[in-house]
Amino acid sequence: MASKDIYFVPELSKWPIVASLVLFTSFIGGAMMLNQSPNGKYVLLLGILGIIYMFFGWFSNVISESLAGYYNKQVDVSFRMGMGWFILSEVMFFAAFFGALFYARVLSVPWLGGEGHGVVTHEFLWPAFKASWPMAVMPNPANFTQHKETIPAFGVPALNTLILLTSGATVTLAHWALKKGQRLQLSAWLAATVALGAVFVYFQAGEYHHAYSELSLKLSSGIYGSTFFMLTGFHGFHVTMGAVMLAVILFRSIKGHFTKSDHFAFEAVAWYWHFVDVVWLGLFIFVYWL
């Protein structure tokens, strides 16, 4: 393999230090906001604008290097590994929240209700509490928002499952089209995927609104509300990011980027999209359905 004889070493780049700086700014802004400092939101805004600028700059740099053909097979494999392991780290991040969900459902709520070795806890803390899932009444309702009911699985969530699964199929169709060199189909299927993603986020936002305003199911609705909103919220955020990334890929494919054999950016985003898809299936089963 000829490309193996000479390694590709990119030139020095300012982007890593810029990225650290803008992240730092955002963190400071966020922390100031949480401390009720009046200027926090401006610092945070500055940081987020910086992050957007950084992503834009860094990726256009990478894209132009890629188009100029600097990247050989070896760099491509490095990128693939990087993306793969990044997705694994995301899986582990969600695993922490799923872990919290299972712990609450299987252990802490039954214990508070007096099961197993929780008899004494139950007796001394909140003897009136009855364990159930979704938890109907908080052990100590004083500090928490009491919800009227929870969102049933077979309504909008089931529809959203269908939407996401369909979008997983359309992104694969786009990939097939790309491999066959059918540019028009590629863009069409990609556009369909982005649209499905947007519809998903729209429905999800509608559900949140419904939960907050009508069911008074909130983040502060005990452990059910906490796990529900944190899991679906982080997932919704990832879907939004994924949709933005897909939109960038769509834009690039309209501009004529990617070839039949060399389209790693497309595949990376597709992997990411499948990842959010799989996470949603877990959510649908364990958060909504069971």
């Binding site: 390694y7 982007w15 890593p16 963190f27 991040f93 802490s108 500090n143 928490f144 502060s220």
Partner: protein, 498 residues
């Protein structure tokens, strides 16, 4: 740069330890108030773990892995660069908390709720600093995996890789799998404090113990993230100075992997006293005992490597030998702590403090010191001052033992950790321990002097440096050229072995 940064952090963290030992020199409150004492204990731990030992390990990895496997640089150099630049910013976030209203974080580095939720304005800064460092470490880890699996020179098969490279690949897997979990845990803390969630509040159906489960699911692999690279370093150094190949190379690789896998199934041994169901206690006790098996394999392999070797005792070898002995002591006290009924007695005493300092200071830090002496001639092209190096070793080894060995007795006698005052019967051992601490602190200044002297000049080092050394890094000149290998070298079996 990583290494310089981690040395600076080592001294910042070290000066906090000096404040702690000064306060504990005599019973009663002398210098600092309890709140500040607690924040010193907390920040000392965070700085030493995330600021000193981890960046030093990553720094060594970034410098040595490409050279050891015959690559010009890491696979994803820009990402690598970013994971470094995050460090100073993240520590700016963390250290700035010491000057805020309500003081720095003082709930211990383990950040257990509900105590940690009482932190003042420092709280979100603490959480974001942890997030930030997590991002940095994950990027570093991804990079190491991509480098090792993708950038090896032809002929550098997986089972020919130096053990330092092997231990780092396995460490990188641990980082990728465990740090996001920590990020999740601290995110839940943040929402519990500011957004009314009740993950860790029993009143809303959660459980404060849940945090401990999630935290230690990260925390125990983290212990091996600190220790495995040290194992790798030692496995490089001992064969060099014993002039024999490493005994049981393949078993070393498998032992490392077993330790890593087991480390995900032992987390609750940090929590034996929180009221776990009896089956949980038993499971985690047996799983913990299992880890002693691969660790024992490693220790015996190191000893077998030295058996009938032509040994010489330069500074790196001295540190490596001290590592083997003292780490084993730390391992044994760990076994004692891993036995549930015994742990009920030792939990949260100075015995625990002595245990993890034997593992981390005379373990991880000694290995890092050994690696610094071992590779300094390669990095700078100059030999360090061997005489001063030996003085540094003896000063460190003796003072570290004076510092931490008495803490075993304090713990067995019942002195609790994380308290600035103590009852008078603990006074003698505490004074001895503090004297050892000051001596250790001062002797590290000698290390800085040795490094600076070596960088500035000294006897020129040859490419080979140590006559027993094997591996690609010694085939290059000292110091190696920028982007060490621009063309892949040919690796044969003979080059890697004797």
């Amino acid at each position: 740069m990583y290494l310089v940064f981690s040395l600076i952090m080592f001294f910042i963290g070290g000066s906090m330890a000096m404040i702690i030992r000064a306060e504990l020199f005599q019973p009663g409150l002398q210098f600092v108030d309890p709140q500040f004492y607690n924040s010193m204990v907390t920040v000392h731990a965070l700085v030493m773990i995330f600021g000193a030992v981890m960046p030093a390990g990553v720094g060594l990895a970034n410098w040595m892995i490409p050279i050891m496997i015959g690559a010009p640089d890491m696979a994803l150099p820009r990402m690598n660069n970013m994971s470094f630049w995050i460090m100073p910013f993240a520590f700016a976030l963390l250290l700035s908390t010491l000057f805020m209203d309500g003081g720095g974080p003082a709930g211990g580095w383990t950040m257990y709720p509900p105590l940690v939720l009482q932190t003042g304005k420092a709280f979100p800064f603490l959480i974001f600093a942890v997030h930030f460092l997590g991002i940095s470490s994950i990027m570093g880890a991804i990079n190491i995996i991509a480098t090792v699996f993708n950038m090896r020179a032809p002929g550098m098969t997986l089972m020919r890789m130096p053990l330092f490279v092997w231990t780092w690949v396995i460490t990188a897997f641990l980082l990728i799998a465990s740090l996001p979990v920590l990020a999740g845990a601290v995110t839940m803390l943040l929402t519990d404090k500011y957004f009314g969630t009740s993950f860790f509040s029993a009143a809303g159906g959660g459980d404060p113990v849940l945090f401990q489960h999630i935290f230690w699911f990260f925390g125990h692999p983290e212990v091996y993230i600190l220790a495995l690279p040290a194992f790798g370093i030692i496995s490089q150094i001992i064969p060099t100075f014993a002039r024999k190949p490493l005994f049981g190379y393949a078993s070393m690789v498998y032992a490392t992997a077993s330790i890593a896998i087991l480390s995900f199934f032992v987390w609750a041994h940090h929590m034996f006293t929180v009221g776990l169901p009896i089956n949980g206690e038993l499971f985690f006790m047996y799983a913990t005992m299992l880890i002693a098996v691969p660790t024992g394999v490693k220790v015996f392999n190191w000893i077998a490597t030295m058996w009938k070797g032509a040994m010489t005792f330069e500074a790196p070898m001295l540190f490596a030998l001290a590592f083997v002995v003292l780490f084993t002591i730390g391992g044994f006290s760990g076994l004692m702590l891993g036995i549930t009924p015994v742990d009920f007695q030792y939990h949260d005493t100075y015995f625990v403090v002595a245990h993890f300092h034997y593992v981390l200071l005379t373990g991880a830090i000694f290995a890092l010191m050994a690696s610094a002496y071992y590779w300094l001639p390669k990095w700078t092209g100059n030999m360090y001052d061997e005489k001063l190096g030996k003085i540094h070793f003896w000063a460190s080894a003796i003072s570290a033992n004076v510092l931490f060995f008495p803490q075993h007795f304090l713990g067995l006698a019942g002195m609790p950790r994380r308290i600035p005052d103590y009852s008078v019967q603990f006074a003698d051992f505490n004074m001895i321990s503090s004297l050892g601490g000051f001596a250790y602190g001062i002797s590290q200044l000698l290390f800085v002097y040795i490094v600076v002297k070596c960088v500035l000049g000294g006897k020129k080092a040859t490419g080979q440096v140590w006559d027993g050394a094997r591996g690609l890094e010694w085939t290059l000149s000292s110091p190696p050229p920028y982007h060490s290998f621009s063309k892949p070298p040919k690796v044969t079996k003979a080059l890697m072995e004797y």
